[in-house]
């Protein structure tokens, strides 16, 4: 395992456009799901990506794994530009980066046994065969808290939480360094959610995994992540250590998001909820994309896109707001 200096995964200026189907001769106007996102995940670090629907967080996860090529910018994995790698080397690199999906019912092949699906990765990368693979599958099932005998069953015999454990086992089967977890607990019941969050936390501590945890639930992110990236309409609004951002959110959007999240402990303190809804991603506001809902917006906010810059007075935080100076914690 080479250990190039710098972060394990780095995305630089990532953009991703989707073309809506137009007519026969013209393409529809592109929809920009990502607009110049910079992100870095260090070895063994857990980074949370939060935001509402349409903010581009899922696209970001898939672009970082090159399940989807970026339209602009580049992704470096352990110092290697993924776009520059020949197909065979990219497939080999995939051993080291894995994904856990949101829907535990859609992410497992309904017609193949759980054991066969967990063994896939080992066979593809020649890590284990035959009885070796069987033993490894049993060990993985045990590691995620399931009965090793369950390998012979089909996915529909399991509950949602168990399936998500199976999906985690499949992701671990290639002994990855980096896992993207795209809303892995939002389809689960509250009591089961905690089980899976704890499992991910344990595995991370045990295996030294780097984790990109995508979620709309700020509370879950706070529990699991070292650093948080807050996204809105394809752009990063704020980034910094999870502890600091939750204790003292700076960007008006982060503040609104935290205030809107229902909580047992802060009843009725939220104040007025954020007005309006996330604008259509096909037609985002000019300048700062958040300005149409922002309580602090000024005319200047409509003119220029605020760059994401280190926050005054907190070097480990970055913020994209013209009025950042007034927002310092």
């Amino acid at each position: 395992m080479s250990a190039a200096p710098g972060p394990l995964v780095r995305g630089e200026g990532l953009t991703r456009a989707f073309h809506r189907r137009g007519g026969l001769f013209h393409r529809g106007a592109p929809v920009m799901a990502l607009r110049g996102v910079d992100i870095a995940v260090n070895r063994g670090e857990a980074v949370g990506v939060v935001g509402e629907s349409g903010c581009g967080k899922s696209t970001l996860g898939r672009v970082l794994l090159r399940l989807m090529p970026p339209t602009g910018g580049r992704v470096l994995f352990d110092g290697e530009d993924l776009a520059q790698q020949p197909a065979a080397h990219l497939r080999a690199l995939r051993r080291r980066m894995q994904m856990v999906f949101q829907d535990p019912f859609g992410s497992l092949d309904p017609r193949r046994t759980v054991g066969a699906q967990i063994a896939d990765g080992m066979q593809i990368h020649g890590l284990a065969h035959g009885s070796g693979a069987r033993d490894a599958v049993a060990a993985l099932l045990k590691q995620v808290g399931l009965d090793p005998d369950h390998a012979r069953r089909l996915p529909h015999e399991f509950s949602g939480g168990q399936r998500q454990r199976i999906a985690v086992a499949r992701a671990l089967s290639t002994r990855p360094d980096f896992i993207v977890a795209d809303e892995p607990v939002s389809a689960l019941d509250v009591s089961i959610q905690a089980q899976v969050v704890n499992l991910l936390a344990d595995l991370r501590a045990e295996l030294g995994l780097a984790l990109l945890f995508i979620s709309h639930d700020l509370h879950v992110v706070r529990h699991l992540c070292d650093r948080v990236v807050v996204m809105y309409l394809g752009r990063v609004m704020e980034e910094g250590p999870a502890r600091d951002i939750f204790r003292a959110p700076a960007h008006p959007y982060t503040r609104a998001l935290l205030a809107a999240t229902p909580s047992l402990r802060h009843r009725g303190t939220a104040g007025a909820p954020l007005a309006g809804e996330v604008p259509s991603i096909a037609n985002p506001p000019s300048g700062c994309v958040f300005r149409t809902r922002c309580t602090m917006a000024q005319p200047a906010c409509a003119e220029a896109v605020p760059p994401i810059e280190p926050m005054p007075g907190a070097a480990d935080r970055r913020i994209a707001c013209l009025r950042a100076a007034e927002l310092s914690p």
Binding site: E52, S53, R91, A92, L93, R94, R95, M97, Q98, M99, F101, Q102, D103, G106, S107, D109, P110, R111, R112, D120, G121, I124, H125, S159, G160, Q162, A167, S173, T174, D189, V190, S191, I192, Q193, A194, Q195, V197, N198, A201, H216, D217, H219, R222, H223, A256, L257, A259, A260, T261, P262, S263, L264, R265, G268, A270, P273, L274, E277, V278, R293
Partner: protein, 619 residues
């Protein structure tokens, strides 16, 4: 369900097997030579030696039918197999790679579909000369596009599924993804397409043979037999009848077989249930004799028990649920999936799915006329008069509960017109839309649902629900599908409505405890079909008196604790309920007594109930 459809497969399956076996075993059966002529006895009717008679050359008809099946079936199966292999390959490649590949595979295959099939077959046969080989080839070309289309459509929908992406993420080669993940998952519709193709290939084969372009005489074939019998139709009409019967019968059996096969392979099963007005209240005993409660309030549910059929017979999904609601009060029903919270709500609205049967209890509702009715035993017609007027409901998914083809104003107006409002509907609709906070309500009334956002669609649903000033509003997970910032707005709107519609009671069904803390007066916690705790909202968070409530609160990812406290295990399935307390297997406080006897719901303080033997220890 599944076992049932396997049995349904038996009859056509056995018939098809007999036909195929007879054709395969033709050389072994004690049949006369199908081509041996006996001109002296031409056109004789059925006899002991020739059961179905003899044809225009005196050949045995039964023997020719059986041998003809051999030709028809083998041509049809070979053609269908070739078409399936070729067409599926084209369809999968086109659907997976899209772009140019799609153009040269699927689109080219579709061009073939534009030709009339018989003309195309004629063309090929004219070019290559008649014979079984030519037939198979031309039929294969004709039927391949059908497979390409089915495979293409299935691949398109499957390739975006997470488990296909997961294979890609694992680093699998495309070939492996196509063969091991995609193909098995698109196989069922292709299998059905295959049996349909065999049937149509048989018909086409007979047609071509009839025209003299298929099987070459004297080889027996059903098409040739029909052709031969046509000449002597007036002397021996039965000769025409037998091959026609064989052809129609076989095609029917094959079609029936693939119908049943489709039912078996479709995991969703057949469309379930009958419409509401055909539903009958079976097995529901007469109301308990006990008189009405002294003060029935707005809504009183007593001993509600609901059953569904399962592999282990009838199982109770809701057991002995009871609660009451006063006018102007908001009750939150909180529970995880499988708790029975949604079914309880639907029972109140009289909207239970037809598989769910109420078997005990009553639902007493005081209408705006002051009369107390048992909703559980009310005929559907009376129920319909209440629904939308006295009773209203908001659903979870605002995008699927509005009709996409009707303007928003028309849909909100519908709830007014359905209950007799005819004058000034338009103005009232606009006022309602304004009340629920839609910007520019006049324009919104003229918009279609897809033109407004998810949060605004939910506002429209709420406008339709409150149009007639309902006495009871049932909100089933009304904010679950929304973003948090929008969720906060909708919760604010509902709280505002409570103030505006002072006498309206609200039942708020949700899985999210944190959501109810601001909106509810009282909370009912359900687990595995039972009420486990009921308390005023402030008490339940400050001092839960059931271990499940406590565990649920503790497992919410809030606070500074490093580690979440999870509830081990999972909600039990309705057919595998533990004998004692249903929460005991997951409970940290469970004692021996909890596993033997089911605890009753006891009143532990005024307005507080708990279904726990050890609630006192939680104080």
């Amino acid at each position: 369900m599944r076992r049932l459809s396997i049995r349904a497969l038996a009859a056509p399956g056995i018939l098809a097997a007999i036909i195929v076996l007879a054709a395969i075993a033709a050389p072994l059966l004690p049949l006369t030579d199908p081509v041996r002529q006996d001109v002296a006895n031409r056109l004789t009717g059925p006899s002991f030696t020739h059961w179905l008679g003899q044809d225009e050359y005196g050949r045995d008809v039964l023997s020719r039918i059986v041998w003809g099946a051999r030709v028809s079936l083998s041509v049809a199966f070979a053609a269908a197999a070739m078409a399936a292999a070729g067409g599926t390959l084209l369809g999968i490649l086109g659907g997976y790679f899209r772009g140019v590949v799609e153009l040269v595979t699927v689109r080219v295959a579709e061009v073939v579909l534009c030709f009339p099939p018989l003309l195309l077959a004629l063309l090929v046969v004219t070019l290559m000369g008649p014979g079984a080989g030519t037939l198979v080839f031309s039929l294969a070309i004709l039927f391949a596009p059908g497979f390409a289309r089915v495979a293409y459509a299935e691949t398109l929908s499957a390739r975006s599924l997470d488990y296909v992406t997961a294979q890609e993420a694992l680093g699998a080669r495309t070939r492996r993804i196509l063969a091991r993940t995609l193909l098995p998952n698109i196989a069922p519709p292709l299998l059905v397409q295959f049996s349909l193709t065999v049937a149509s290939a048989m018909v086409l084969e007979s047609g071509l043979s009839f025209l003299g372009l298929g099987v070459v005489p004297p080889s027996p074939s059903w098409g040739l037999m029909i052709r031969g019998a046509r000449a002597s139709m007036e002397q021996a009409p039965l000769l025409l009848f037998w091959p026609c019967l064989a052809l129609t019968g076989t095609v029917l059996v094959l079609n029936l077989l693939c119908d049943r096969l489709r039912d078996l392979l479709d995991p969703r099963g057949k469309a379930a249930g009958r419409p509401g007005f055909l539903r009958r209240l079976v097995a529901l005993p007469a109301a308990p004799v006990g008189a009405l409660p002294a003060a029935p309030g707005l809504l009183t549910v007593e001993g509600l028990t609901l059953e569904i059929p399962s592999r282990a017979g009838q199982v109770q999904v809701v057991r002995d649920v009871g609660f009451s609601l006063a006018p102007g009060e908001t009750l939150a029903i909180v529970g995880e999936s499988g708790s029975g919270k949604t079914l309880t709500g639907l029972a109140v609205m009289g909207l239970l799915p037809s598989a769910v049967k109420p078997v005990a209890g009553r639902i007493l509702f005081t209408g705006r006329d002051g009369q107390v009715r048992d909703l559980l035993r009310m005929p559907e017609t009376d129920m319909r008069a209440l629904r939308g007027r006295d009773l209203a409901m908001i659903f979870q998914d605002p995008s699927s509960s509005l009709n996409p083809l009707l303007r928003i104003g028309a849909q909100v107006g519908e709830s007014l017109r359905a209950h007799g409002v005819t004058q000034g509907v338009k103005a009232r609709v606009v006022a309602l839309l304004r009340q629920v906070g839609l910007p520019d309500p006049e324009r919104a009334a003229d918009a279609y649902p897809h033109e407004v956002s998810g949060g605004q669609r939910q506002r429209v649903m709420i406008a339709a629900a409150i149009a007639n000033h309902p006495r009871l509003l049932l909100a089933d997970e009304p904010t679950t599908a929304l973003d948090v910032t929008v969720q906060a707005q909708i919760l604010g709107l509902l709280a505002e409505l409570r103030r505006a519609e002072g006498a309206m009671g609200m039942v708020f069904v949700t899985h999210n405890l944190a959501v109810v803390s601001d909106i509810a007066d009282r909370v009912l916690v359900m687990y595995a079909g039972e009420v486990v705790e009921e308390a005023p909202v402030t008490d339940i968070f400050a001092a839960p008196r059931h271990p499940y409530t406590a565990a649920l609160i503790a497992s919410m990812p809030e606070g500074e604790a490093e580690r979440l406290s999870a509830i081990p295990g999972a909600v039990p399935q309705p057919w595998a309920m533990p004998t004692g307390c249903r929460f005991a297997p997951r409970c940290v406080m469970a004692a021996e007594a909890c596993r033997t006897a089911a605890p009753a719901l006891v009143e532990i303080a005024s307005g507080r109930h708990s279904r726990c033997l050890r609630w006192e220890e939680m104080a």
